[in-house]
């Protein structure tokens, strides 16, 4: 009886799988299509429109917003700054993240869970709150300036807030948890015996890292690097709060264009930001995989 029922079920599965699959996955798919793809499509259409100061947006079909962006040194300057800051932050995150990720992956203490929570907590607390912390530290009367003056290292406060350095410090702190968590999960999957084997064959810590750990952790390194780079490109709150009005990156630029009611140009800027990020990460992906797959 039970067997017959099970057999019947399996038969039924075969026939109705498309129907039941669509009832299960359908709502979410439709929601994301309508709530994300369609809006992006409309936004792209807007980017081909024309802006006129008095009439706001005029229907058109031209690439002039994109041309305007790439022919004006002000905008291309912001573009290169964003690339530079995102790239530099990614490199710093790699250097800072690898030791922490390795230590977390290999630790045997019972505090491991607490340590992971401490890495995730800053991530979830929000960029604005963390920027507030950096403002307290880096302000003209902030902790760092006052301490350096007390120690007699500097005579007058250094301008640390509203500089490129402050933005880089802030973005690294924002992106570091992502890098650490990605690397940690990959390193945890690497058999520890391989490291021991390298050591017992005479490798030092540096040799072991370079010839065993890094090649095995490469997928995670790549994923973490790409994620951090994307987040750096798209940063908004950190450059606004730590960079001030003069230091511009792409995220604040896009927002500013919409505040000025120039929707077509704002839309074009948004698409330039997204495509640049996509192209760069895809290229990195292909290059690294080709180099290491042989």
């Amino acid at each position: 009886m039970a067997l017959a029922k099970a057999a019947g079920q399996r038969d039924e599965d075969g026939r109705t799988s498309i129907l039941s699959a669509s009832t299960l996955v359908g709502p979410a798919t439709i929601f994301v299509c309508a709530g994300l793809l369609l809006p992006l499509l409309i936004l792209f259409r807007y980017s081909l429109n024309r802006f006129e100061p008095r009439r706001m947006m005029v229907e058109a079909l031209s690439a002039e917003n994109y041309l305007k962006f790439f022919s004006d040194p002000y905008y291309t300057g912001i573009f290169w700054t964003t690339l530079y800051v995102a790239g530099l932050c990614t490199v710093i995150c790699l250097v800072l993240g690898l030791p922490l990720a390795y230590a977390l992956a290999r630790t045997q203490t019972r505090f491991k869970n607490i340590l992971i929570v401490l890495v995730v907590l800053p991530l979830f607390v929000g960029n604005a709150v963390r920027a507030a912390g950096w403002m307290t530290l880096l302000g003209n009367k902030g902790f760092l300036n006052v301490t350096l003056m007390d120690l007699g290292i500097i005579d007058a406060p250094m301008q640390m807030m509203f500089t490129e350095g402050a933005v880089i410090v802030g973005i690294v702190a924002v992106n570091l948890p992502y890098m650490v968590l990605t690397l940690q999960s990959v390193i945890e999957g690497i058999n520890r015996a391989l490291e021991e084997a390298a050591f017992s064959l005479g490798a030092g810590p540096y040799e072991m890292t370079r010839r065993v750990l890094l090649p095995l952790a490469l997928p995670g390194l790549l994923a973490g690097t790409i994620l951090t780079f994307i987040l750096g490109m798209n940063a908004y709150a950190t450059p606004v709060l730590l960079g001030g009005p003069k230091f511009k990156m792409m995220g604040p630029l896009v927002f500013g264009q919409f505040q000025l009611n120039n929707w077509p140009f704002g839309a074009a800027t948004a698409f330039i930001l997204m495509s640049a990020t996509l192209v760069l990460t895809a290229t990195a992906n292909i290059l690294v995989q080709r180099r290491y797959r042989r």
Binding site: A28, V32, I42
Partner: protein, 273 residues
């Protein structure tokens, strides 16, 4: 031989030192914002004149932050419920059923996490404008529009975490239940559901927290006179930094910290992130 062991110990020492430094760097901003919240004077200059709790006592009287907190709480709760209820079936389907276009659907459902928050916000804003022109439903700046946007953030977390917990589950257990006479619903309720529950709890937590803390997208979706807590914090900080905002920040850190520790009792965070 001793040289090599010495090298290894030196390497371990360097590793732990570097790891501690990175950890300190991560926690540094939280430490300083907490310190500032206890200053006696309003200006954030060091060393502080003294310490006081008055900024914390003033927070409940600050309408802007209280209403921001309530709105964030409401939006995040409803968005999490909705996102989970359509995200979990989708995740089950993506792992358990084979159909054409599965990969495509899977990456589509993860897409909201990849699209920059600012771009997502603008896209939704123009979408709301167009919808309002077309249907005359006042969706622009409405709370419904804000929640719909936040559901978009919860879905990818749900799909990612529930999928991960399903992949680790042995399919044979479900088949055993079915061959012992359980129908599909019973199998799901008694076998599948309990084993994906940790994944669902994790998804609810991550979805809730990323919705609660969402800043960039919400900037475009809040209506006039309505702000979420992260927006209220950002706008205050654009104007000035003082112990008031630090106290608000500390309360937010505590709120999220407690939420994380509670979740950690159900499902080890180190296993899901």
């Amino acid at each position: 031989m001793t040289g090599r062991i010495g090298m290894r110990m030196l390497g371990r020492l360097a590793l732990n030192g570097a790891a501690t430094l990175s950890m300190a760097y991560l926690l540094l901003p939280l430490f300083f914002v907490t310190w500032l919240a206890f200053f006696a004077q309003e200006i954030p200059s060091f060393p502080p004149d003294g310490y006081s709790l008055k900024w914390f006592r003033a927070v409940p009287g600050n309408d802007r932050f209280v209403s921001g907190f309530i709105l964030s709480l409401q939006v995040a709760s409803i968005a999490t419920l909705l996102g989970i209820s359509i995200g979990v079936p989708a995740a089950v389907c993506l792992v358990r059923m084979k159909f054409t276009g599965r990969e495509l659907v899977s990456s589509l459902l993860l897409l909201p996490l990849v699209v920059p928050g600012i771009v997502l916000g603008i896209a939704l804003y123009v979408f709301h404008v167009e919808t309002e022109i077309l249907t005359e439903i006042p969706i622009l700046g409405s709370i419904g529009g804000l929640i719909a946007g936040h559901v978009l953030i919860v879905i990818p977390w749900t799909v990612r975490l529930v999928t991960a917990s399903l992949v680790g589950m042995d399919r044979a257990i479900e088949e055993a239940a079915q061959s012992l006479g359980a129908d599909r619903f019973t199998t799901f309720r008694r076998i599948t559901l309990p084993s994906i529950l940790p994944g669902m709890v994790a998804a609810a937590m991550f979805g809730f927290i990323s919705s609660f803390g969402n800043l960039e997208m919400s900037l475009f979706l809040v209506g006039p006179g309505r702000t979420t807590l992260p927006i209220a914090i950002l706008q205050y900080l654009e104007w000035k930094i003082d112990p008031t905002i630090a106290a608000v920040s500390v309360l937010q850190i505590l709120f999220i910290g407690v939420a994380m520790l509670l979740t950690d009792r159900f499902v080890k965070i180190s296993r899901v992130v």
